[in-house]
């Protein structure tokens, strides 16, 4: 028995080790074990020796053909050898590999096309912003939902009842929330001119602090800092349905004349908008949440769909710098359509090219 095991120990060439990416943390070890031996292996160990002398033994799954060692340092070298056991007996041992260092790179070549696309879009944007600075007037097609914003504010003024404004249920890292906060600024300025009250219950603590700042600033800009009431921009709660229950109840109790739902929403969207519809409020929604759009479209008077939410700030302010970027978005859309159509036509003629990202 002992003799048999000893005979089975094979000394083979060292494992191949290479650096799989530029993170400087990983090394991939190729486990070239003869197929004849594979099925007998019950335990497979990889011994790692670091250039600082530290030796570790890694227990890995016996069938692996390659193993990627994580969390290494790009300032040290490593070498490996393979040990394979069958029921506790060593049956295979390789020589040490060469010392290898995980390479740390400053640019990921695989992401180059993405980088070019990003730069292209940025340049287009800067170009159109410069054009806007030169005061070239831009045509913008009317968006019903945005023309309705002023009408909706006017209604609240006429009826002498408040506006409720919701910034969505995501945090500040979600760009939809930022778009919502920009619209809040316009709505507050406009409502402030007519001394119409605007109530902003908040869901996210950070969004609350920013919303408060924005409303305060908006009132200051129109010269009415006295209109700011800290109790009207407040943190309600950060539980999804607790918030929905609170806002729905508030709509019913205040009989708000106008409700705005901007930003990103989840399942609570319909609780908010259907309650609002039941009080007879005029409602304007704007979201990029694909799953919740249908409910707003059905229950609100006007809905900004997806990209329209992001265009809203530019539309409402009519500031040339902001409208300039809309032109950039349009050009990007045109380019995308061109790429989709062109590559489709080419592949109809059996020409399959891959255009970097596509």
């Amino acid at each position: 028995m002992i003799l048999k095991t000893i005979l089975f120990i094979l000394f083979l060439s060292p494992p191949r080790v290479f650096s799989p990416d530029g993170t400087g943390k990983k090394l991939t070890i190729v486990l070239d074990i003869p197929d004849a031996i594979r099925p007998q292996i019950t335990t497979l160990n990889l011994v790692r020796e670091c250039s600082d002398g530290k030796i570790d033994t890694l227990d890995i799954l016996p069938f692996l053909k390659a193993y990627t060692d994580n969390s290494l340092s790009h300032k040290k070298d490593y070498r490996y050898k393979i040990l394979a056991y069958s029921n506790g007996n060593l049956i295979f041992e390789s020589e040490w590999s060469e010392y290898t260092r995980p390479t740390a790179k400053w640019f990921d070549k695989d992401k180059l096309p993405l980088f070019i696309a990003m730069m292209l879009f940025t340049i287009i944007m800067i170009y159109y912003i410069a054009q806007a600075r030169a005061n070239k007037p831009l045509y913008l097609r009317p968006i019903a939902g945005l023309e309705a914003v002023n009408e909706a504010i006017g209604r609240a003024t006429e009826m002498g009842r408040p506006i409720i404004y919701i910034n969505g249920l995501t945090g500040i890292s979600d760009i939809a929330t930022i778009a919502a906060l920009n619209i809040l600024s316009h709505v507050t300025k406009r409502a402030g001119q007519f001394e119409t009250r605007i109530v902003v219950p908040c869901y996210d603590p950070v969004v609350y602090t920013i919303a408060r700042e924005i409303v305060k600033e908006a009132y200051t800009t129109i010269g009415r800092p006295d209109l700011f009431n800290p109790d009207d921009v407040y943190f309600a709660t950060d539980s999804q349905f607790g918030y929905a229950a609170h806002v729905a109840a508030r709509m019913v109790r205040e009989q708000s004349a106008t409700n705005f739902f901007m930003g990103y929403y989840f399942a609570e969207s319909l609780i908010l908008s259907e309650t609002g519809a039941s009080t007879g409020a005029i409602q304007v929604a704007g979201t990029d949440s694909v799953a919740q759009l249908p409910f707003f479209v059905v229950t609100c008077d006007y809905t900004l769909i997806g990209e329209e939410l992001y265009a809203a700030s530019a539309y409402l302010s009519r500031e040339p710098l902001l409208t300039g970027t809309i032109k950039a978005q349009d050009l990007a859309k045109l380019l995308l359509v061109a790429v989709i159509v062109l590559l489709s036509i080419l592949s109809l003629f059996k020409v399959n090219i891959t255009l970097g990202l596509f």
């Binding site: 799954l61 016996p62 069938f63 692996l64 039941s278």
Partner: protein, 285 residues
């Protein structure tokens, strides 16, 4: 009041009456179940018939990748599929990629022991939870017993009688991933695309919409979607129980789905009534 006026008034009815109708419409079938005759939808049928026609002694992996929050929809499916396998002599291998799935899956196997007298490690195997997600899925394609060194109860997998002939996906007839999230897609990509094992999904109604493109692409052999599929599967298993004279039917999903269907049909009725009223009032003008 003419019929026309009736419909016009009905189309402007206060929403409270709608809520009342819905409430009554759901409570009554929950107390007095109507037992709508079930007819299997094609996706469910594909999964059911596939298992139904497997030779005795085949292996099926049932991965309980769900948690209690989606249990009302998904758990009845898991229980029904476990029973179906055991009734047909197919050996289910239970496992989970999420910690919370272990307790739920165990519940299904315990029920199968009680109702069908299934024996652990002979008629079924329960491996339990293994951390790693996609890595586990890939590992099973190479060697199940080295990914799971022991089963849920601590028995060495190499000692489990039922697992003797099983090495990896080549010995598995089907994998079903039960989930309320995107995990079935991970199974499709790693287990089906890489190893060619047949995969099916059992998911909640809400998430089902995301999986239709996978079905169109043939990456799942079928899909159990939402309460409706749970009811259909439960009913089909009940029929086998009846054939074999075992009895002990379970009806939790069927009962809930009957109420569900009535609610949905009420909405349809509302839409029709609303449109009749709207149409009539427009004509008057």
């Amino acid at each position: 009041m003419s019929v026309r006026d009736f419909f016009i008034r009905l189309s402007k009815i206060d929403r409270k009456y709608i809520y009342l109708v819905i409430l009554i419409g759901l409570i009554i079938p929950l107390i007095f179940p109507p037992h709508f005759p079930q007819k299997m939808s094609p996706q469910v049928k594909r999964v059911f018939e596939y298992i139904d026609t497997l030779p005795k002694g085949s292996y099926v992996i049932l991965s309980a990748d769900y948690d209690p929050s989606v249990a009302p929809e998904v758990h009845p499916m898991y229980k029904a599929v476990v029973k179906h396998c055991i009734l047909r002599g197919v050996i289910p291998i239970g496992m989970t990629l999420g910690v919370q799935g272990a307790g739920l899956a165990l519940d299904a196997f315990t029920e199968a022991e009680k109702v069908l007298g299934a024996r652990r490690d002979t008629d079924y195997v329960f491996l339990g939870y293994q951390a790693g997600g996609a890595v586990v899925i890939l590992g099973l394609g190479e060697d199940i017993k080295s990914v799971y060194k022991t089963d849920y109860f601590g028995t060495k997998t190499t000692d489990i009688y039922a697992l003797k002939p099983v090495k990896n996906y080549r010995d598995i007839a089907l994998v079903i991933s039960f989930s309320g999230s995107a995990i079935p897609a991970t199974w499709a990509v790693y287990a089906y695309t890489k190893y060619g094992v047949k995969v099916a999904a059992a998911v909640t109604g809400v998430s089902a919409g995301d999986f239709y493109p996978y079905i169109q692409a043939g990456q799942f052999i079928g899909m159990l979607a939402g309460m409706k599929a749970a009811a259909e599967y439960e009913d089909a298993v009940n029929r086998i129980l009846k054939e074999k004279g075992i009895g002990k039917f379970s009806t939790s999903a069927i009962r809930m789905m009957d109420a569900n269907s009535i609610g949905q049909l009420l909405i349809i009725l509302f839409i029709i009534i609303g449109n009749i009223g709207y149409f009539l009032s427009r004509r008057r003008k």
